[in-house]
C-alpha cells in the first residue's frame, strides 16, 4: 500500500512522462492492432468472397487467369465422380455509381447453377428473379444483392451502368438476391449475370474462368481431384475453393510480411520507450529507493514496485492502443485494398475491419507483457540499488569498466555469430537469426559507442559554445545510461528506415532502368483504364487495324495473365518476341541476348525474370513446365532478366505458342511504335476513331504509363514513409523523456549555473545542444546500423521476398534528408524541457547546498 502511494505520488509529479510512456505502449499496440486487423480484414474479405461465391462447390477446376475453352466443361461433366459442374466467370467491373466503386460480377449458367449456389437462402418461395426466361433471353439482365440495391435505391427494372468491353453499357436489374451466403461476398457489391452474356460483355470469347464442381455422394475430395486430374491432364488445377485464398495470400506474402515487420518494429520501439522511461524513473528515484531499502524494503518489493507501475502503464497503453488500432484499421484496410487494386490488379471490397475480441485482447496482453519485459531490467537494477550509493548523486549513471567489458564481449560474440550464420549459406532460419544477432550486437554496443561519440563531440560543442557546449557534452559523458536507451531506440528506428528506404531506392533505380529499357513504345493501347488491370481483353485483330494507320511503324501484341506454377500464381507474358528483340534490348542477367531472343521467338524457350528463377531455385537451361489447357508446355530457360511486372515472377513466351497452347487470340496491351516524325496525338486520335467504336479502348502515351508505374512504386513504398514517420515520433518521444530526466538530474548543476550569473539563454542553449548531440549520436549510429540493415534487407529481398538481386546503394539522399529532420525533431523535443529548466525554482534547485 505504501509502495502504491509512492508510485502514485511519483506519477502525479511526472504526469507528462507517464503520458509519454503510456503513449509509447499505445503506439506499439495501436500499430500492431491496426496492421494486423487491416491485413486480416483484407484476407477475410477475400475469403468471404471466395466462400460466398463457392456455395456448395467442393472443387474448382481452373488454369489461372487465362481461363480455358468451353469444351472443357463437358469433359468435367463426364467424370463419373462429378455430381454437378458449373462454369464461372468473375470480373470486377466499374459501376459508375457514385461511391460504389467496383461491382464483382459473377457469370454463371443460370439454367443449372443452383445445384451449386443459393441465390435466395432465406426463402425458397419467392422468386428472386422476376422472370428467369427473360433474364436469360436478355443479355442486359443482372441480379444484384439486396444490400447493393438498398444502397443505390435499385428495384426490379432499375438500370445501372457498367464498364464493359464495348464501353459503358446499361444493365437492367431483373433479380435481387436476399441477404446471406452469396450476397455476403465482396461486401455485398456483388452481381450475377448469365455467363454467356458476361462472356460477350467482357470480350472473353468462348472461354470460362473456372468450373465449380460438386462431387457425387460418398466421393472424397482426394478421389474427386484424382479423377478430374486424370480426365483433364496436368494443364488444369483442381483444388478446393479455399486454395484460392492461399493463392491470394501468396500474392500478398511480401506485402503481409512488410506489414508484420512494421508492426513488430512499432512494438520494438514501444519496448525502448518503456525501457527508457523506467530506466529514467529508476535513476530519478534512486534516493527514494535507497531510503526504502534502508527502511527494510526487500529487493523483491522494489522490483515489484516498478513492475507494477509497468503493468499499469502497459495496461492503460494497451487498452488505448487496441482501441486506437481498431479505429485506424478500417482506414488502413481501405488503403491496403486500394494498394492491392493498383499494384496487383486484385480488386477487393474491404468495408469493415472486424473487431476481433480475441485478437484485440491478445494484442493488449502482448502490450502488457512487452511493458513488463521492457521494465524488467530497470526494475532489476532498482532492486540492486545499494542504499549507500543511492545517495551519491550522479554516480549511478556511470557505466562501470566491468560492465562495458562484458557488453563488448557479448556484442563481439553476437557479431561473430551473425557473420558465421551469414557465411554458412542459404538457410533462411540462420539468415534471420544472423540478422537478429547483428542488431543485438549493435544494441549491446550502444552505451559504449554513445559514450565514445559524446566524447568525440565535446570539442565540437565546446568550440561552438564554450560553456553551454561543454556542459551539454559533459552531461552525456557523465551519464551514458541516461541517453543510451534513447540513442538505441533512435538508432534502431533509423536503421530500419535506412534498410527499407535503401531497398526501396535500389528497386526504384532498377525500376527506372527497366522502364527505360522495356516500356519504350510511343503508345499503349489497352481495354483497361489501368494497365495493371487485366479484366478486359480485345481481339488480336485490333492490332492489324492499328498497323494500317499512317504513322505507325510497328505494333506488338501482348497478352499477360497470372497462371499457376507449382502452386503459386506467376505472370505469363506472351508477346511477339522477334519484334521485342528489335525494340527491347533487355540485358540478360544470365544467358546470351541474341540467343535468348532467337530461341524464345522460335517458340523453343522462355525468358524468365530473376525473381521467378530465384524464388524457385531455377537456373539457365532448366526446363519449366507450364500448365496449359492442351497439357504441359515444356520450355527451357534461355535467359534470365530483370523484370518488375510481377513480384512472384514473370515468364515471357512467344505469342505463337500462346495461341497454339491456350487456343486464344486475345490481347490486353498493344505496344505501338511510331514512324519518325509521326504525331503521337494524331495517331492516338486515329486509333480511337477507327478502333474504339463499340469497344472499350484507352490509348496511353509513354509518359502516362511511366507516371502510372512510378505512382504504383510510390504507393508500394509508402509503407517506408510511414516507418520514417514512426521513427521521427520515436525520436521525439525518446528525446523529450531523456531531456526531462537530464534536467531533473542536473537541477542542482543548472541552478548553480544560474546562481553564479549564468543566463537563462545559456541554460536553454545547453539543453538544446544536449538534445542535438543525442540526435547526432543516434543519427551516426543509426546510419551505421542502417548500412548493415540495408545489406540484410537486400538479402531478404533476394533470398526470401522477391528473388531480386539488387545493387547495394546506400540511400544517401534519404540519409541527407533524415539528418535535418531528426536533428530538427531533437531540437523541437528539447524546447519544452529547456523552458522547464529555466522556469524552475532556484531555491529548490539549490536546497541541497
Amino acid at each position: 500500500m505504501l509502495l502504491a502511494r509512492l508510485s502514485w505520488a511519483y506519477l502525479k509529479r511526472h504526469k507528462l512522462r507517464w503520458a509519454l510512456t503510456v503513449a509509447g505502449v499505445a503506439l506499439g499496440v495501436a500499430v500492431l492492432v491496426a496492421m494486423r486487423l487491416a491485413n486480416r480484414a483484407v484476407l477475410a474479405s477475400f475469403h468471404r468472397t471466395v466462400d460466398g461465391i463457392a456455395g456448395r462447390t467442393e472443387l474448382q477446376v481452373h488454369a489461372g487467369d487465362l481461363g480455358f475453352p468451353e469444351e472443357v466443361l463437358e469433359r468435367v461433366q463426364a467424370v463419373p465422380q462429378v455430381r454437378a459442374a458449373a462454369p464461372v466467370i468473375e470480373a470486377a467491373l466499374d459501376t459508375g455509381l457514385p461511391g460504389q466503386g467496383y461491382l464483382l460480377v459473377i457469370g454463371v449458367d443460370m439454367t443449372g447453377d443452383r445445384s451449386l449456389r443459393d441465390y435466395d437462402l432465406e426463402s425458397g418461395e419467392e422468386a428472386i428473379i422476376e422472370d428467369p426466361l427473360v433474364f436469360l433471353a436478355q443479355p442486359d439482365s443482372i441480379m444484384v444483392t439486396r444490400e447493393f440495391a438498398q444502397r443505390n435505391g435499385l428495384e426490379i427494372g432499375s438500370r445501372i451502368p457498367l464498364g464493359t468491353a464495348q464501353g459503358t453499357r446499361w444493365f437492367t436489374v431483373r433479380g435481387i438476391m436476399r441477404s446471406g451466403g452469396l450476397s455476403q461476398a465482396f461486401g455485398g457489391n456483388l452481381a450475377v449475370m448469365d455467363i454467356y452474356a458476361l462472356q460477350y460483355v467482357l470480350g472473353r470469347g468462348r472461354r470460362f474462368d473456372r468450373i465449380d464442381v460438386a462431387l457425387q455422394e460418398g466421393v472424397s475430395l482426394a478421389e474427386g481431384q484424382r479423377a478430374l486430374h486424370e480426365a483433364l491432364g496436368p494443364g488444369f488445377e483442381v483444388e478446393p475453393p479455399a486454395a484460392r485464398g492461399r493463392h491470394f495470400e501468396a500474392i500478398l506474402r511480401s506485402f503481409s510480411l512488410t506489414l508484420n515487420i512494421t508492426s513488430l518494429f512499432a512494438m520494438l520501439v514501444g519496448v525502448f520507450i518503456i525501457y527508457n522511461s523506467f530506466a529514467i524513473a529508476v535513476t530519478q528515484r534512486r534516493t527514494e529507493i535507497g531510503i526504502l531499502r534502508a527502511l527494510g524494503a526487500t529487493r523483491g518489493r522494489i522490483r515489484a514496485l516498478f513492475l507494477g507501475e509497468a503493468a499499469v502503464a502497459g495496461s492503460l497503453g494497451s487498452v488505448a492502443g487496441a482501441m486506437a488500432g481498431w479505429l485506424m484499421a478500417r482506414w488502413i484496410a481501405g488503403y491496403v485494398a486500394r494498394l492491392l487494386q493498383e499494384v496487383y490488379g486484385v480488386v477487393q471490397n474491404v468495408q469493415t475491419a472486424p473487431a476481433e475480441p480475441g485478437m484485440l485482447a491478445a494484442s493488449a496482453g502482448l502490450g502488457v507483457v512487452v511493458s513488463l519485459i521492457a521494465a524488467w531490467i530497470p526494475a532489476a537494477n532498482a532492486a540492486r540499488v545499494d542504499p549507500v550509493r543511492a545517495l551519491q548523486k550522479g554516480k549511478y549513471q556511470v557505466l562501470s569498466a566491468g560492465e562495458t567489458r562484458a557488453r563488448w564481449w557479448l556484442s563481439a560474440g553476437a557479431a561473430a555469430a551473425a557473420a558465421i550464420f551469414l557465411w554458412l549459406g542459404q538457410s533462411l532460419v540462420l539468415f534471420y537469426a544472423g540478422y537478429i544477432l547483428a542488431i543485438l550486437a549493435a544494441l549491446l554496443m550502444t552505451p559504449a559507442l554513445a559514450l565514445w561519440l559524446a566524447r568525440a563531440l565535446r570539442p565540437v560543442l565546446a568550440w561552438l559554445r564554450p560553456v553551454e557546449g561543454a556542459l551539454a557534452a559533459d552531461s552525456l559523458i557523465q551519464a551514458p545510461r541516461r541517453t543510451s536507451a534513447t540513442v538505441a531506440a533512435l538508432m534502431l528506428s533509423l536503421a530500419m528506415v535506412i534498410g527499407f528506404g535503401g531497398v526501396a531506392r535500389s528497386i526504384y533505380n532498377s525500376l527506372v532502368e527497366w522502364v527505360n529499357t522495356t516500356l519504350n513504345p510511343d503508345l499503349f493501347v489497352t481495354p483497361n483504364a489501368e494497365i495493371a488491370n487485366r479484366t478486359y481483353v480485345m481481339p488480336g485483330e485490333v492490332g492489324s487495324e492499328i498497323e494500317r494507320i499512317p504513322g505507325v511503324r510497328q505494333v506488338q501484341l501482348v497478352r499477360s495473365a497470372r497462371i499457376p506454377y507449382r502452386g503459386t500464381p506467376v505472370l505469363l507474358v506472351s508477346a511477339e518476341v522477334s519484334k521485342l528483340a528489335e525494340t527491347v534490348p533487355r540485358r540478360p542477367l544470365e544467358g546470351d541476348l541474341d540467343d535468348m531472343y532467337r530461341r524464345t521467338a522460335a517458340g523453343q524457350a522462355t525468358i524468365v525474370s530473376e525473381s521467378f528463377a530465384r524464388l524457385r531455385g531455377l537456373r539457365l537451361g532448366d526446363v519449366v513446365e507450364l500448365p496449359t489447357p492442351q497439357g504441359l508446355l515444356r520450355l527451357p530457360i534461355a535467359g534470365i532478366t530483370r523484370d518488375y511486372s510481377d513480384q512472384q515472377g514473370t515468364l515471357l513466351i512467344d505469342r505463337s505458342l500462346y495461341r497454339q497452347w491456350w487456343a486464344d487470340d486475345s490481347v490486353n496491351v498493344i505496344r505501338v511504335y511510331l514512324a519518325p516524325g509521326a504525331s503521337a496525338e494524331e495517331v492516338k486520335r486515329q486509333i480511337l476513331e477507327r478502333c474504339a467504336r463499340g469497344r472499350r479502348l484507352f490509348v496511353l502515351g509513354n509518359q502516362e504509363v511511366r507516371r502510372y508505374i512510378f505512382r504504383l512504386a510510390d504507393q508500394w513504398f509508402s509503407m517506408t514513409y510511414n516507418q520514417i514517420a514512426v521513427a521521427i515520433l520515436v525520436a521525439v518521444l525518446g528525446i523529450v523523456n531523456t531531456l526531462t530526466v537530464s534536467i531533473t538530474d542536473r537541477r542542482r548543476e543548472l541552478g548553480i549555473l544560474q546562481a553564479v550569473g549564468g543566463f537563462k539563454r545559456q541554460v536553454r542553449h545547453t539543453i538544446w545542444m544536449e538534445a542535438v548531440a543525442i540526435g547526432v549520436i543516434g543519427l551516426v549510429l543509426g546510419l551505421g546500423l542502417g548500412a548493415i540493415s540495408l545489406y540484410y534487407s537486400l538479402e531478404m529481398t533476394r533470398r526470401d521476398l522477391a528473388g531480386l538481386s539488387l545493387d547495394y546503394v546506400f540511400p544517401l539522399p534519404l540519409a541527407a534528408w533524415l539528418a535535418p529532420v531528426i536533428l530538427g525533431a531533437a531540437l523541437a523535443a528539447s524546447l519544452w524541457p529547456a523552458e522547464t529548466a529555466v522556469r524552475g525554482s532556484l531555491v529548490e534547485a539549490l536546497e541541497y547546498e
Partner: protein
C-alpha cells in the same frame, strides 16, 4: 404351390399387366410427328400470374424423337428455343438457344432437375417417358376427376438418370390417356401433373390441358395445347443445332 410362390406369380402377373397398360397407352398416342402452339400460365405461391407462348414441334415418337420448343411471346423471350434429342437407351440431349447473345448452351444432365425457365416443369419433365426406361407395378384402381383409372408405380431403371425416385401414374381405362402423374423424391411428393380436357385429335386421344403443380414451391403452371396436329410433314434437318440457330 407354396404361399410364397403364389405371391411371386401374382406379383409377376401384375407387373406384366402394368407394363402392358403403359405400353398400350404409349402405342395409342404414337404419331410420327406433332405440332402445337402452347400457352403457359405460371401462377406462383402469391397468386401472381405470368403468361408465355411457344410453338412445339416433334419428329419421331417415344424414346427416339426430336423436339423443338420455341418461345413466341412475350417479346423479350421471342426466339428463345430448346432442342431436345431423346434417346431410347439414355437421357436426352438438350440445348437452349438465346438469339440476343447468338449462343446455344447445352443443358447438362445434372441440370435437368432445375425448373424450366420459371415454370413448374423441370427440364426432365419435358422429356418423353419411354416405356422401356422404367419398371412398373400395378398398385390398383382409382377414380381421378370422375374417370376410372389404373394406378401404376413406375421406377426409373439404372440406365435412366432421373431426379425422381419413383412416380405414380394414373391411366384412364376409357382411352388409355394419362390422368395424373405424381413424382416423388424418396418419399416426398414434389410435383403433380394433371391431364385434362381430353380430345380426340386425328384419332389420338390427347389431353389439351396439363396442369403441373410444384408442391415444394406451392405454385402451378397450366399448359394449354392449341392448334394441335399430328403427323405433320417435318424434316430431320429441322431438328439440329444449325436449324436452331437458323430458324430465328
Amino acid at each position: 404351390m407354396s404361399k410364397a410362390a403364389t405371391w411371386l406369380l401374382a406379383a409377376s402377373f401384375f407387373a406384366q399387366d402394368a407394363r402392358q397398360i403403359v405400353e398400350e397407352a404409349q402405342r395409342r398416342s404414337r404419331a410420327d410427328s406433332e405440332r402445337y402452339e402452347g400457352t403457359l400460365e405460371v401462377i406462383d405461391a402469391r397468386g401472381r400470374k405470368s403468361r408465355k407462348r411457344w410453338v412445339y414441334r416433334r419428329l419421331g415418337s417415344h424414346g427416339d424423337s426430336k423436339a423443338i420448343i420455341r418461345f413466341t411471346e412475350p417479346a423479350e423471350v421471342r426466339g428463345v428455343a430448346l432442342l431436345i434429342l431423346n434417346h431410347p437407351e439414355r437421357a436426352s440431349d438438350q440445348w437452349m438457344w438465346t438469339p440476343a447473345t447468338q449462343r446455344e448452351r447445352r443443358i447438362a444432365l445434372q441440370d435437368r432437375s432445375t425448373r424450366f425457365f420459371g415454370t413448374d416443369f423441370s427440364f426432365e419433365d419435358l422429356e418423353e417417358r419411354d416405356v422401356n426406361q422404367y419398371d412398373y407395378r400395378l398398385l390398383g384402381e382409382e377414380t381421378i376427376e370422375g374417370a376410372a383409372c389404373w394406378k401404376i408405380e413406375s421406377r426409373p431403371r439404372k440406365t435412366r438418370a432421373s431426379q425422381y425416385t419413383h412416380s405414380i401414374l394414373w391411366i384412364r381405362k376409357e382411352n388409355y390417356t394419362f390422368a395424373r402423374i405424381e413424382n416423388y423424391v424418396r418419399e416426398e411428393l414434389v410435383r403433380r401433373a394433371n391431364y385434362r380436357e381430353v380430345h380426340n385429335v386425328q384419332g389420338i386421344w390427347t389431353p389439351r390441358l396439363i396442369e403441373m403443380q410444384d408442391l415444394r414451391r406451392n405454385s402451378r403452371t397450366i399448359l394449354r395445347l392449341e392448334k394441335l396436329e399430328y403427323n405433320v410433314p417435318m424434316k430431320e434437318s429441322d431438328f439440329t443445332l444449325q436449324a436452331l440457330r437458323r430458324e430465328f
